[in-house]
């Protein structure tokens, strides 16, 4: 028990260091920076190159890593955020996703994908508490977190520049009117946060012992969880959140086994947010503008006339299957499936304003329901399709309940946690789901006794279901209910004052969204014929959100078009080989830069 506590503190220590930078950026730019983990990875890789490969002393290697990450931070602020100021608040998030992709692939190209040893320049086993050894390295990490926290606190409270940072965080426009160089302040906080990520990369890289260019993603997620746990924008909260998360995971692993680590960490997160919607040490704070909705600036929606829609649909359904080859039709089928998944979010995030990062959870529920019913249950394709939607629609609002009373970024992080928990439950509930073995041999769909396996037929099937889904979303958006959802999105207080029940409206939006995700999951399960927990990782949720944001939040056609771009582009770029994913990230970045309101605009 003591040993579990000690190892938990040692692990939590590393989370705290990563969480500090994330919390700082949250506080100043009001942004989930998805590139932060990648900056951390850049720090680790550069630190390894200078320290382990070139043999520089630790301080010099750390300084070099910090120089690189500070430059990266400034670059991210300059390229991804500054041009989007005044645009829809959700656009910068997408921008950081793109930068993260580019950075990860860039590191892989520069350093090679291999895992490599990062020998610690500091002792790692020279102290002992109970049965656990730890070292100078762990103390240095703790000291860095505490000094970083203290120095930042002093800077923010005591220096004029620090006041400017806080003023900007509180009210951007007011700060600007008082003569604060708002852009400069934002750049400064990015530089500081990224510099911390650089030191963190070197120290935590040595703590891991082995690193590879893709370590950033998981580290970033742990950092987010810790930052949210402590309260966004609160620096002591980041440290406390990190340590608490480490201890909780350690106890969870001790009691329930290693595979439950994620389950435990997200359960703790959701539990804390349930009791304290602003995190442990977060201030309730002034209400911020909603992430979506009428405050969104920039660009009216493109007007698409009904005949144009009809023509487009006729071309896609009538002509495409005749001229495209099976490979292209296969891609088009996946586009339709992911478009359907995205439509679920068009309703939840676009219309009702709940920016969910957990749609993969409902997708997985639908896929598993369909997979289990058609294999173990012996059901036919069509009843199982409907059942997949219904099961997801019933389970959806239940699992999402803890997120209903949250607002803003907390909704995103809570839903991220819930999505990950669904995947973790599927992994651990072996009696029902076969755990890591997955479900094998899911039969192909049938239509009046005929198997639907030819690419043209699967495309027609997926498009037909997509059309039904799109019709449902279209109808709902124009209903009384849609009006209530938009009210919740645009102004919760006003909506409540005219009698809209917030929790049940949101729950209903999630239920309809989960129904559509469930249908998409069923189509995917029958298309792949084999599904495993890995099929529904966080990347799938992120892709769904990316599609919706790129399409223009509540825009149905936009979501379908964006799905075609985002699922199609990696295939289209195949001739580029090594730089394929780099090009994909770049296109995403450029699209956000020049269409921050989405391809077809917010409606």
């Amino acid at each position: 028990m003591l040993d579990a506590l000690v190892t938990g503190l040692i692990t939590g220590n590393t989370y705290a260091l990563i969480a500090l930078g994330i919390s700082l950026i949250f506080g100043v730019a009001d942004l989930i920076n998805f590139a932060h983990g990648s900056v951390f990875a850049a720090g680790a890789m550069v630190g390894w190159w200078l320290g382990a490969d070139l043999g520089w002393p630790l301080w010099a290697a750390a300084a070099g890593a910090v120089a690189v990450t500070v430059a990266l931070g400034l670059l991210i602020e300059r390229l991804a955020l500054r041009p989007l100021v005044g645009g829809p608040p959700i656009a910068p998030l997408l921008s950081t996703v793109a930068i993260g992709l580019i950075l990860d692939r860039g590191l892989e190209l520069v350093f090679g994908p291999e895992t490599r040893r990062f020998p610690s320049a500091l002792a790692t086993g020279n102290f002992r508490v109970g049965g656990i050894r730890f070292g100078t390295l762990d103390l240095v990490i703790l000291a860095t977190s505490l000094i970083g926290m203290g120095a930042l606190w002093l800077f923010l409270r005591r220096s004029r520049l620090g006041w400017a940072v806080r003023a900007t965080a509180q009210d951007r426009d007011a700060a600007r009117q008082m003569g604060v160089n708002v852009e400069g302040v934002q750049g400064l906080s990015f530089a500081l946060a990224s510099g911390l990520a650089g030191v963190g990369g070197v120290l935590v890289g040595m703590y891991y012992g082995n690193i590879e260019p893709s370590i950033g993603f998981d580290a970033g997620i742990s950092g987010f969880t810790a930052a949210v746990l402590g309260g966004l924008g609160s620096l002591p909260g980041a440290v406390v959140g990190g340590l608490l998360l480490g201890v909780a995971e350690s106890l969870g692993v001790t009691w329930f086994g290693g595979s439950t680590r994620q389950l435990v960490s997200f359960a703790v997160l959701i539990g804390v947010l349930w009791l304290r919607p602003n995190g442990l040490l977060g201030a309730a704070g002034a209400l911020r503008e909603p992430l979506t909705g009428t405050f969104a600036g920039g660009g009216a929606a493109l007007r698409v006339r009904p005949w144009q829609v009809a023509l487009g649909a006729a071309l896609a359904l009538g002509v495409l299957p005749l001229v495209a080859n099976p490979y292209q039709l296969q891609v088009a089928t996946l586009v339709a499936i992911y478009a359907l998944l995205a439509l679920s979010l068009t309703l939840v995030a676009g219309t009702a304003g709940q920016v969910s990062l957990g749609q993969a959870g409902f997708f997985a529920i639908g896929a598993y329901a369909a997979g289990l019913l058609t294999t173990d249950g012996g059901w036919g394709f069509w009843p199982a399709l409907l059942a997949a939607g219904v099961v997801a629609a019933i389970l959806g609002p239940i699992v999402i309940a803890p997120a209903l009373r949250l607002r803003g970024h907390y909704v995103s992080i809570a839903t991220l946690g819930i999505g990950a928990m669904v995947a973790a439950v599927i992994l651990n509930w072996e009696d029902l789901t076969y755990g890591p073995l997955g479900i094998f041999g899911i039969p192909p769909p049938t239509f009046f006794g005929r198997e639907i396996v030819a690419p043209r037929d699967t495309f027609w099937l997926a498009s037909a279901v997509l059309l039904v889904g799109a019709g449902l979303v279209w109808r709902l958006q124009r209903s009384q209910l849609g009006l209530a959802w938009r009210g919740v999105r645009d102004d919760e207080v006003a909506a409540r004052s005219v009698g809209v029940d917030l929790a049940s409206s949101k729950a209903l939006a999630f239920a309809v969204g989960a129904f559509l995700s469930g249908l998409a999951g069923s189509l995917l399960a029958h298309q792949f014929t084999y599904i495993a927990p890995d099929t529904f990782g966080f990347q799938v949720s992120l892709l769904a959100l990316t599609v919706v944001v790129l399409g223009g939040m509540s825009n149905i056609l936009g979501a379908i078009l964006a799905a075609a771009v985002l699922v199609g582009a990696p295939e289209l770029f195949r001739p580029l080989q090594d730089v394929r994913i780099l090009a994909y990230g770049l296109i995403l970045l450029l699209l956000v830069r020049f269409r921050p309101q989405g391809l077809l605009g917010v409606r």
Partner: protein
């Protein structure tokens, strides 16, 4: 006086020249790669694998080993005089990408067989397409028991987990220690191997004091190792890939765990030694292939790999190399047709390979009677376990 202007280099020409250089180089490389001896219509195999993303390091190993096999074949005159080409497609081992790639390969009449993908979700989602398209899917890393049940076009040279786990259990039980704890990577592969290992060990009369799983992206094992330490095993068996295996070996002493370590064959990689450092000394594992293997076909491969890349090959590399060579062998016997290749693999009796020596595929399209040897880390290298 000669009025012919000297050939000046202006800016435009300089840029043109600079741009042309790499192109020319590429073209030359292409030509060189095709070899001099091999003529005629190229024979093409598709490769669907993780060339970028989280599993990219395995994709890199594949690419090295496969390029080596292809160039050896072409330097020796190709396959019955026809040059071999490999069409690499990156899927990041993601089913969303491996499925379209399968359709692409199937639709390309020039592709005669396919290698990959890496992880089961990516491979098995693509299987129905290969099966319907009549294209051999050679999943040389796919140990999932259902992989070759996907159809008669699915072949695998990776070890069947039944054999693998049973032999490891026997070795560990008889030669390392009887009171064991088992740690496994919680994926389809780890789960199955763990189940087989534990039942084999208990059948032999061993005592299993703890069985613990961990997530595949785990890096911090200190808590888990502390828990295992408290169960007081004589031996800790790691059912791990080399990346997590190396971290487990490193972190075990920090958790105060001093039991002897036994590792699954997937840890048989020079990278395991590199990443784990001195902590891997004495680790026992079993394998079908290791660089010190004295058989001539193994030494020829190790020598060629070492010379070209200045690196030691591991079993992933050996399996990838074999994959290309085996398909080339089958293409020649099968008359350069998809169906012929399948038939040659199914019916061949002495299929040449580095990993197994001459072998045949059993009814389940996996290697029949694969022989294994125990090895141990000694002085920072794998050596026969004496």
């Amino acid at each position: 006086m000669d009025t012919k202007p000297t050939r000046t280099i202006d800016r435009r020409r300089f840029v043109q020249g600079a741009a042309a250089l790499p192109v020319a180089g590429l073209l030359a490389a292409r030509r060189g790669r095709a070899g001099v001896a091999a003529q005629g219509e190229p024979v093409r195999f598709g490769v669907s694998g993780p060339l970028s993303g989280n599993s990219a390091e395995y994709g890199r190993i594949w690419q090295r080993a496969m390029d080596l096999a292809r160039d050896e074949i072409n330097a020796a005159g190709g396959i019955a005089g026809r040059p071999l080409e490999l069409a690499y497609e990156d899927t990041q081992s993601d089913p969303k990408q491996s499925v379209p790639v399968a359709q692409k390969f199937v639709g390309d009449a020039g592709i005669l067989a396919e290698l990959g993908d890496f992880a089961s979700p990516a491979s098995m989602a693509a299987s129905p397409i290969y099966e319907r398209g009549g294209l051999v899917q050679f999943g040389f890393t796919n140990s999932h028991p259902d992989f070759t049940k996907g159809g008669e076009h699915m072949f695998s040279t990776t070890l069947s987990q039944v054999q693998d786990a049973a032999f490891l259990a026997k070795t560990a039980f008889e030669r390392v220690g009887k009171k064991q704890a088992v740690l496994y990577r919680n994926t389809d592969w780890g789960k199955i191997t763990q189940g087989l290992y534990v039942s084999a060990l208990e059948e032999l009369g061993g005592e299993v004091v703890a069985v613990e799983s961990y997530l595949e992206n785990e890096r911090d094992f200190r808590t888990l190792l502390t828990k295992v330490r408290d169960a007081q095993p004589e031996v800790v068996t790691l059912i791990s890939y080399y990346t997590d295996g190396a971290l487990l070996a490193q972190q075990a002493p920090q958790a105060g765990l001093t039991a002897k370590l036994v590792a699954n064959g997937a840890c048989n990689s020079p990278q395991f030694l590199e990443l784990g450092g001195p902590a891997t000394e004495g680790v026992v594992t079993t394998t079908v292939f290791f660089p010190g293997d004295p058989r001539p076909e193994a030494q020829a491969f190790v020598g060629a790999y070492r010379e070209r890349y200045q690196l030691e090959p591991d079993s992933f590399g050996a399996l990838a190399y074999d994959g290309v060579k085996i398909l080339a062998w089958a293409a020649e016997r099968g008359g350069f047709e998809r169906e012929g290749i399948r038939q040659a693999l199914a019916e061949g009796t002495d299929i040449p390979s580095v990993v197994y020596g001459p072998f045949r595929f059993a009814e389940d399209r996996r290697v029949e009677n694969a022989a294994m040897v125990p090895i141990q880390v000694k002085g920072g290298a794998f050596a026969a376990f004496a």
